[in-house]
């Protein structure tokens, strides 16, 4: 219905603007891009360790048997649910422990242009923290990092996901 579409558009703009305000405030609070990147990762981590519960409850996905299933769930269910986009999965490593998520558009960066004095800023680094935190709660230690970014002039945005190890102990949801 039309009013729902209108609401979705309004709230997605508000979301984009809110994220932008967060990043620019961090840039003012911290003196260098590296520290901002770390803060974004940390914030994302704290979101991810909580978001996973909501995700598992709403999506009803079962336990993944391998990293390939995990990749599918991340791209086709999680990204779709929370950001309304479906990245494609490419560049699997031969061992099956690394893959790339290719985002053709990223709602976080609508209208954003990175100024010259923030060339090391990983603007959407919050997403990497979310992925890391969420997967840690389902016993997977992973590394997520941006290797291409449309904000920096690349044609697409690419997040590289690497499986580090299975977490055997049931650690409580921690805050870093």
């Amino acid at each position: 219905t039309n009013w729902k579409k209108g609401l979705l558009k309004t709230s997605s703009e508000l979301f984009t603007l809110t994220y932008g305000a967060l990043v620019t405030q961090l840039c003012k609070d911290y003196e260098n891009d590296e520290d901002v990147n770390k803060q974004l990762d940390k914030m994302g981590y704290n979101i991810g360790v909580r978001l996973i519960e909501d995700f598992l409850a709403r999506s009803n996905v079962g336990r993944c048997h391998d990293f390939r299933e995990t990749a599918d769930v991340i791209a086709k269910v999680a990204f779709k649910m929370y950001l309304g986009i479906t990245p494609s999965i490419t560049n699997w490593s031969p061992a099956g422990d690394e893959f790339s998520l290719i985002l053709e558009n990223n709602p976080l960066v609508d209208f954003v242009e990175l100024p010259d004095n923030h060339s090391s800023l990983i603007y959407s680094n919050l997403l990497c923290g979310v992925l890391r935190g969420a997967l840690e709660m389902v016993q997977m230690a992973v590394e997520a990092k941006f290797v291409q970014d449309t904000l920096k002039g690349d044609g697409v945005t690419e997040i590289r996901m690497r499986f580090i190890r299975r977490i055997e102990d049931n650690l409580p949801a921690g805050e870093e």
């Binding site: 603007l17 932008g20 305000a21 990043v23 620019t24 609508d110 209208f111 954003v112 242009e113 990175l114 100024p115 923030h118």
Partner: protein, 92 residues
Amino acid sequence: MSGSFYFVIVGHRDNAVFEMEVFSCCSRPPHVTAGHMRFIMLHDIRQEDGIKNFFTDVYDLYIKFSMNPFYEPNSPIRSKKVQFLGQKHLLS
């Protein structure tokens, strides 16, 4: 069609936020300042549709520009796109 146009965006304190002259024979680099806006066009020939389309496009551009979280209000705006729009709508 020849003619010259002077386009200015005027801020709340009657300051020129963005100024641009568009000549058909040569282009001068736009002198830009920043602020909030009234869009004013001074022109010496009638060009209703061109001006209307120019205003619509520049306004869209301005909105997108001000949505950039890194844009500091009252800092200089540098935009070559506006000059391109001037060429497109006012001089053709």
